[in-house]
Symmetry: D2
Subunit: 368 residues, 4 copies
């Protein structure tokens, strides 16, 4: 039901967070559980094509989630051993981590491309003077390369945070004790995680949502880094500033002269939407062993956080890759007042302080 | 891309906020404009079946919205007069109001049914004693009828707010001056609103989002009223309390004894999601004549606010309609301490103060 | 503990939401209760100078609020009849409404002054041409008067919402049944409200927070209307645009040429802070008869929402009252492209469509 | 203006985030700058007692912050060299990090004490059976020790995040180029950080708020971990459950039998308030070289995030330290249905699966 999803989010990312992707991840979790616990099942039954998410959703309203109807359908095909010892949340939390890992792979790829574009801009315009603006007033001279380098620094920080994420499997059984597995609980739990290439968490995290909140914060960081670039592009692309322009800037049927910074605008919209979903994921109250509502809200919120954070990054990547940089306009825009500080200090008007050294610092970090 | 939408939101409401519904509303706006301005167009071209939202979204990335490609496609079929004098935001804002009006019709219908269920409970259990709980500690006696009456009062407040909403058309042209309509601007604007059965706003509201924020606040009120009921049901349905139970409470494959309050749980999840979208719609900064991002974020946020507020109300309606009320358990749960205040005041233990009078007040208001 | 409060919020408003103001309002509620219920008390004891908020806060940690220690102290001075029949939340909710009413009086006064300033600008510059900017790109001609008129329309909408607020008294006793008042409950409740000049609500609203959410939404509307103006001023005051400037724009020790739009900047900061507090007030879950946490969070959140919404409005008032408007720069900034639509339509370049008619509409509404 | 601050936040933490603490931190930053750049100043002038925050705030409205009036006052006392080469944001951002570091020291100390209390509970009740509750329905047996161990795991995660925080100094000059320092910029910047014991960031972060967002996310984690414990205590302390009680639970004047879980309730309120401030700190848009509003909103928001996250942790510490645990009631509450899974699997009714192994895991991690 998300309005105009492909306008905001690349098709490849939408696939990674689609209901089908969630279904496949749930099936992967169920299969891994069967394998880890040595239950004999018909593996052909774990193919998503056998199941319909809409039907599962409708059947799932009585239970409050769709694992219950999915397990019924799976058992009919694959055998009664399916899901033995697990609870719905084991499957859905594990699926959430699989979906998140898959989506963040795409986000990181776009983020790397955006970082490469920033690095190119920082190098190419390392010494290109422009006005620095504070509170949107011209302040002192800076360079466009330094601006791009600071964009890059923001992206690198977000990348570090995304790379540092852990994706723990969830397996605790009805209430986190693994009781139905007898004395094989911890062993099956490790093998389950291993089957899926996920982390083996210290304890079940059914009602301790640190892993989800960590995902959310990192996605928020990615959205923020993209948003910063988008905002600056929108400001520098203003008619009265005109220092950058999107390469394939959006025309308008009635105003063909307009070159709207459409990607930057979409990135800002995505960032707003991402932050709203992040707040759902970081502020929930989860009662006792498993929550009565805050958990259920996570599924759409996580999907939206992944999609819109990724959408913000992807739009910024496109924006940067086609960015026209008008260094002459930059120089022409520099007001006389801009040199007041320099003059007061008896410095050369073109003096740029440590701007270039900072560019080098960021590029060195990038190249690590 | 919203995960498991039919689990949370009734099918009928999902239809009203679907991309198809948005497309139809945009086409209705374009057609109304052509009629209002007397432009000759082929009305058969305004059928949604001719257009594909996914394609429009992809083509729309360059412009930042899908009105631009839609207008191109429409002009090819219906004639060059399509969209004359309007801007993309005129069409999308007007469509947003059409979509909202259609969705809120469904929300109100569910809300009315939920209110009727509360009224029945309030009447049936007007004098059924139960423990009032403050900070989740038993405090003094109350009645279940009074509890249901207070739920009803919350729903009535939300209903009043939803009924009071205005749905203004948007028509301002490129920047709110209606310049392309010559001296016919105000007249065409009125007729445009009339064609669609929408309000004729004082001035274009491209960058004054009061109408959207008002929608959002009213949807927040609906979500809050539903959430209050859902929370109370979850608490009263606890194993240790057991005073109510959902009629078709969700079983569990491993724990068949469990009667999870699944609808109440889903309602709480929906309310959380609705509030997050409400915050997107109420806090945006819209630059000068039309915004560079905050506006674009509204489309998915409005859809989500409508869907999840409605989902919360619908789940509560289902929850209430099948609610088992165990008045014996209510009486049995009443601890001796509960009567401390009464004893201290020398009152009869069964004395319920104005509880029943308040029930009558709410029922009188309901029956107005 | 709020950082730099007088930087953001006028002193007069800070007083209205101070701890002393809350204390006075609680005392007023207790006194009104004594009068309404005919309890004999020493009215001199209800003077705030007898009590210390910090002490009450520390003593109140055991009970979770400071009404309990306040009542103990009051009873020692005024007699045992104090607070009879009431619960802590009766006193605090009633006090919240008294505080809110007092603060909103100040907010409305600043809002009226800001509206008057907008009206003056709209009249004075009714026909002064300037570039309309959409997505921050020059689009078509508009007038500064129309810009100011749309600011005014936003303020008028917020004013209407603030004026429409109701301030209900709260009196329900331990759990909303008024049981301790015997058969005089409803009567005492009415008189209590009347004593304080507050509304007599349909039922106690201990756990139905509609009145608080309504306050929050209206404060959000005020913050939004102020924020819109502040954002536009910041954008129009950019060095490269230079069409407006704050009269006493903030200088900088190192860059004396800078005229920072300091009030507009502070207004934007206030609006951000107000929205965050609004979200606390609109999204809380209140359990059964009285909430275990969501209610307690309201006191600081309501204070902050009042203070920052008012701070935003007050800063915008100052900003507008000293605003320099450079109509020559406005005209000079108008790019040739701006007239593309006009030329395409064969219109006179100076044609402004319905801009002036819209100005008149808004001014007419203002003068009502 | 924050209402009833000492009710929510310990006095020691309030001091660390007070306006005086901010002032002292700003003065420390100015002094460190003078020392790092070898400027001759009268160090006695850097004592906070010479300055008044309220006055600085009022004088600061023209500039939009209070560094400008502070520098004027400082120069009059200490010499003209004060603040040379720096911008207001250098001082305020550096001060923010000093304040945050000081406050988080207090938060960590409370968090350590809360963790110790959890560890004691986990050990003492390692094998004490109780009902696990999912969706607030009794599900299967667990132990109270395991419950406390999972609380501990959440606190340890938050502690790890708080310990991992970096506190970078800010020094960039007017727009991040350090131009006014000539070729000594990078060197002075390092020495400045060293003087204050802060990190030497890669580049100035005037408009890249990663360090602030990281602080906010970690504070959110602390609030979440505390909130989880508080919520569970409130639920387990319900009259009908009665498995835990706060040692000095809040009485009520009219209902002396009540033992309100007042600290847990205050902790939940604090967590709500903390999350709202976190969202201000993580979602801001910072324009170009320095922001026109989003930055200014950070000061009160950071203070509130520190205070309320710390308030949540401190309240939970108090709650845990006096917690009464009623293991008999725990056993008595266990319904027969609770053993359905065990019976179906042919397990001993007292079988607790891996609950105790998980307790050991968490305690091992704690003791590291």
């Amino acid at each position: 039901m998300t309005t105009f999803a492909p306008l905001f989010v690349p098709a490849g990312l939408l696939e990674r967070v689609s209901d089908i992707a969630w279904l496949e991840a749930m099936l992967a979790a169920e299969l891994a559980l069967a394998r880890a616990s040595g239950v004999d099942v018909d593996e052909a039954a774990f193919d998503a094509s056998h199941y319909d998410v809409a039907t599962l959703c409708e059947e799932g309203r009585a239970a409050g989630n769709l694992v219950e109807p999915l397990v019924r359908a799976l058992r009919a095909r694959a055998g009664e051993g399916v899901h033995r010892g697990a609870t719905s949340q084991d499957v859905l939390d594990t699926a959430a981590m699989i979906v998140a890992r898959g989506a963040i792979e795409v986000v990181l790829s776009d983020l790397d491309a955006a970082a490469a574009a920033c690095a190119r801009l920082a190098e190419a315009h390392r010494s290109a003077p422009m006005a620095a603006r504070t509170l949107l007033q011209q302040a002192v001279p800076t360079t466009f390369g330094y601006t791009a380098a600071r964009w890059l620094a923001g992206l690198l920080d977000a990348r570090t945070r995304l790379h540092a994420l852990r994706y723990p499997a969830q397996l605790g059984g009805a209430a986190g004790t693994l009781a139905a597995f007898g004395d094989r609980g911890l062993d099956i739990r490790s093998r389950f995680a291993e089957e899926l290439g996920l982390d083996d968490a210290l304890v079940p995290w059914h009602a301790d949502r640190s892993p989800v909140a960590a995902l959310a914060s990192a996605l928020g960081a990615a959205a923020r880094a993209a948003d910063k670039i988008a905002l600056d592009v929108v400001l520098l692309a203003q008619t009265e500033v005109g220092e950058v322009a999107e390469g394939t800037g959006g025309g308008s049927s009635t105003m063909p002269h307009k070159r709207n910074p459409a990607r930057a605008v979409l990135a800002r919209a995505c960032a707003r939407l991402a932050h709203a979903s992040v707040s759902v994921l970081t502020g929930g109250e989860h009662e006792l062993e498993r929550a009565a509502g805050a958990w259920h809200a996570e599924w759409p919120a996580l999907t939206a956080a992944l999609a819109y954070a990724g959408g913000a990054v992807a739009s910024v990547r496109e924006c940067l890759n086609g960015l026209h940089v008008d260094t002459e306009r930059m120089r022409a825009n520099m007001s006389d007042d801009l040199y007041a500080e320099q003059r007061a200090l008896g410095l050369d008007g073109d003096y740029l302080g440590s701007a270039e050294a900072f560019v080098d610092r960021v590029l060195d970090r990038y190249r690590l």
